[in-house]
C-alpha cells in the first residue's frame, strides 16, 4: 500500500481534468451507492465501472497492480468468510464493494496532484481559519501521508535489528526503537519545515488584508483607479 503514495502521474485523461471537488463528491456518491445497493449483479457492475475508470487514468503499472493485489486479497478473505457463513450473494456483493471503492480511490490518487489536494483542503478549512490556518491543515495532511512509509520503514529496520540481536520474538525490542525513532523523525521533519520556512508565511492571496488603519486615506470623490494606484505605491 505504501508504494501507492506518490502514484500520481500527469496525464490528460478526463479524470485528470476534473476538479478535486468533483472527484470527492464522486467518491462519496459511489460509497453511498455501494452501501445502499445489495444486489450482487449491480455491485459487480459498479466495481467494473470503477476499474474502467482506474484504467482510464493510465496509472503506473507496478504500484497499481501491487495495490490491487492487496485489495484482491482483502476481498478474497471477505469472500471466504461470507461463503463459510453460507451467504453467497453477500460474499459477491461485499467483495465487489471493496474492489469498487478501492479502485475509485486509486483512480483519484492517480489523477490528483498533492498540490490540488492541499488547495482543496485549504479551501475547505477556510471556515475554521481563525482557529487553524488552512495552509497548516493542508500541510498536516501531506505530512501524515509522508509519515506512513517512513513509519513502516522504521518498523522494518527495528524488526531487522531485533532479529540480528536474536530478539525477534520480543515485541518490546521492535516497538520501542520504532516508536522512539518515529518521534525522532517527526522532530527532524518539524525542523526541516521550519528551515524551509514552510507555513511560516501565507501565500500571496492568503495574506491578511491590511487593516483600515494601514490603508491610505483618500479624499472623497477620488476615482477607484487613483485609489488602486495609491495603494500599490504605498
Amino acid at each position: 500500500m505504501i508504494s501507492l503514495l506518490g502514484i500520481y502521474r500527469p496525464r490528460h485523461t478526463p479524470l485528470h481534468r476534473a476538479s478535486v471537488g468533483f472527484k470527492l463528491v464522486l467518491l462519496l456518491a459511489a460509497t453511498i451507492c455501494v452501501i445502499v445497493v445489495d444486489d450482487p449483479v449491480t455491485a459487480c457492475g459498479i466495481a467494473a465501472a470503477c476499474l474502467l475508470l482506474l484504467l482510464s487514468t493510465a496509472p503506473p503499472a507496478k504500484p497499481t497492480l501491487r495495490g490491487l493485489l492487496l485489495i484482491a486479497i482483502m476481498a478474497g478473505v471477505t469472500v471466504i468468510f461470507q461463503v463459510w457463513r453460507g451467504e453467497y450473494a453477500k460474499a459477491v456483493d461485499t467483495a465487489a464493494d471493496i474492489v469498487a471503492i478501492s479502485a475509485l480511490a486509486l483512480a483519484i490518487t492517480c489523477s490528483t496532484p498533492m498540490e490540488e489536494v492541499l488547495d482543496a483542503i485549504s479551501k475547505l478549512a477556510r471556515p475554521v481559519r481563525r482557529i487553524l490556518p488552512p495552509e497548516t491543515l493542508g500541510l498536516m495532511f501531506a505530512m501524515t501521508l509522508r509519515a506512513i512509509p517512513e513509519a513502516a520503514r522504521l518498523l522494518v529496520e527495528a524488526r531487522t535489528a531485533a532479529r540480528a540481536r536474536g530478539l525477534e520474538r520480543s515485541p518490546r525490542a521492535i516497538l520501542i526503537p520504532a516508536a522512539t525513532r518515529s518521534v525522532g523523525f517527526a522532530l527532524q521533519l518539524g525542523q526541516a519545515l521550519h528551515a524551509r520556512g514552510i507555513a511560516e508565511e501565507a501565500p500571496p492571496d492568503r495574506r491578511p488584508r491590511p487593516s483600515s488603519a494601514d490603508e491610505p486615506k483618500h479624499a472623497p470623490g477620488t476615482s477607484r483607479r487613483a485609489r488602486r494606484r495609491d495603494t500599490l505605491n504605498s
Binding site: P113, L118, E135, P149, E150, R196, G197
Partner: protein
C-alpha cells in the same frame, strides 16, 4: 553578511553550555566548519537559519535578527540537512519543490514551471514525477537542494550534506554545492571539501578554537584529534 555577537547556546533543560559566547563576522563566499562529533558545529550552523535560538547575544543575517525576523532570515538562508529523507515532505519530486514555492508564487502553473526549472538545473528533470521513496540517497539530497534553491536564497548552510552518500554522489553533490552562486557555509567531516573553502572555523567542546586558513585549521584539528586518541589509549 552573517554576524554573531556573543551568541551562546545552552541545553534547554539542564542549562549545560552547548556553544560558548561566540562573536564572528562571516563574509566569505565559502566557509567550512569542522570539528569532532558533538563539538557544537551543527549548533553554530543552525543559529544562522534561526533553527536554534541563542540564549544570549544575537545572530543577524544582512541586519535581520534571527529571533525577531525569523521568516525573513529563512527567506535568505537555505538549510540542507545531512539526511534528506526528513527534508522531503511531498510524494513526488516536483510536488516537493512546488511546496517550497507556495509561499512566493501564487499561480499553480507558474509554480510548476519554476519547480521544473529548479529540478532541471540540478539534473533531476527526468525524475520530476518519480516518488521520493523511489529515489536513491544521492538523488534525494539533490532534490532537497532543489527545494532549497528554488526559493533563491543568498546563503546556503549545508550540515554534512555528503556524509550519507557514496563516493560518486559525494563528488557530484560536493561539486554542485561549490559551483552555486551563493554564500555557502558547510559543516563537514570531509577534510578535502573543507580545505577548498576560503575560511574554516574549527569548533571544539562548544567553542570556535580556530578561525582562518583552511589548511591551518585542518592541521590543528588533526593534532587535536590525534591528541585525544592518545589520551583515550593511555
Amino acid at each position: 553578511m552573517i554576524e554573531f555577537k556573543d551568541a551562546a547556546v545552552t541545553a534547554p533543560d539542564s542549562g549545560v553550555p552547548i556553544l560558548d559566547p561566540t562573536t564572528l563576522t562571516l563574509t566569505e563566499d565559502r566557509i567550512s566548519i569542522i570539528g569532532a562529533n558533538g563539538s557544537g558545529k551543527s549548533t553554530l550552523a543552525r543559529l544562522i537559519n534561526g533553527l536554534v535560538i541563542p540564549v544570549s547575544g544575537t545572530v543577524t543575517v544582512d541586519g535581520f535578527d534571527t529571533v525577531k525576523h525569523g521568516a525573513k532570515v529563512r527567506r535568505k538562508v537555505g538549510y540542507l540537512f545531512t539526511d534528506p529523507t526528513s527534508q522531503l515532505i511531498m510524494p513526488t519530486a516536483i510536488e516537493d519543490v512546488t511546496l517550497s514555492l507556495r509561499r512566493i508564487i501564487d499561480d499553480r502553473k507558474e509554480r510548476n514551471l519554476a519547480a521544473m526549472a529548479a529540478l532541471e538545473e540540478i539534473g533531476l528533470g527526468d525524475k520530476a514525477d518519480v516518488s521520493v521513496n523511489a529515489l536513491s540517497g544521492g538523488q534525494r539530497q539533490l532534490l532537497a537542494l532543489a527545494g532549497v534553491l528554488a526559493v533563491t536564497p543568498s546563503i546556503i548552510v549545508a550540515d554534512e550534506p555528503t556524509t550519507l552518500l557514496d563516493l560518486r554522489w559525494r563528488a557530484h553533490v560536493g561539486a554542485l554545492l561549490r559551483a552555486l552562486p551563493v554564500q555557502l557555509i558547510e559543516v563537514t567531516h570531509d577534510l578535502d571539501s573543507a580545505s577548498r573553502a576560503d575560511r574554516t572555523l574549527l569548533v571544539d567542546r562548544g567553542a570556535v578554537v580556530f578561525d582562518g586558513d583552511p589548511r591551518e585549521a585542518i592541521g590543528m584539528y588533526r593534532d587535536l584529534m590525534f591528541g585525544r586518541v592518545k589520551e583515550t589509549e593511555e
